[in-house]
Symmetry: C2
Subunit: 179 residues, 2 copies
Amino acid sequence: MAAEEGTAPTRIMVAVNESTLKGYPHASISSRGAFDWTLTKIVRTNTSDFKLLLLHVQVPDEDGFDDVDSIFASPEDFRTVQRRDKTRGLHLLEYFVNHCHEIGVACEAWIKIGDPKEVICHEVNRVQPDFLVVGSRGLGPFQKVFVGTVSEFCVKHADCPVMAIKRHASQTPQDPVDD
Amino acid sequence: MAAEEGTAPTRIMVAVNESTLKGYPHASISSRGAFDWTLTKIVRTNTSDFKLLLLHVQVPDEDGFDDVDSIFASPEDFRTVQRRDKTRGLHLLEYFVNHCHEIGVACEAWIKIGDPKEVICHEVNRVQPDFLVVGSRGLGPFQKVFVGTVSEFCVKHADCPVMAIKRHASQTPQDPVDD
């Protein structure tokens, strides 16, 4: 029943995002928690039997709020903004890829743009991981109404088993939205 | 980040139940699926790093339907029924414990009586596994109204990460309730 040596590795998709408090390139507490949990509880010492698929979904800055103090004088300025956003996402992924490399577990990391919950489920369909791990901020019912939770949506709609990892109580910031 | 050799094993609780179609001692398709999935995708060859906690919750036969043809002539007859029910549950657990033993993964198995979804969440609180794996019959929204799903309840209420494993489409009986 247990897998034989030499069989295909278990492919675990881990969705990661930036800290809402500190911004890029810092990973959110909950995505670092989900990542650490996967390594400590699942991969453990068996690094050759797993492959991590690290997905970061960037939310498009539709209202241009991040760029409110920027000056746009040429088409090149807009390309600079696009490059900067992309670079921020890459630095976020770098953190996770570096850790995988140190431990010796295979990984792939990529960025998509869109609504995180929709894009994660879409990527699950495309990539077909064995399961998905998402961090959860552990919001109460009142906060959920305003913030929504990506993890709940994925548990319902992703086409693979989903593990939602709540943060330790000790890791929860005073306002759980500041993750 | 990855666990060192010699650290405590990852404790995985797997909830198992009998087949609704074939009855005891046969395991339901979905609990065999959840068990096999755990071994193939998580434990793999790393048997010494995991311990399986196998919980079977027996539903009390409150309306005595199973015993409609039995004749009760003495207190001993009632004790016989209790023993028979217990024995049925033990034979179910034997299937899973035997498999663990063959593979060489540590396990503990036990029986509780009550409402499966409530008891599973209660046992999670008591035993504090690293995560819970439950099979899911993949019922449609219409069937759920009547049958309810243990897995959905556990995902919401169990105090640990929960992995709900749906059956393969090929394993689904014509009527998914016949699991």
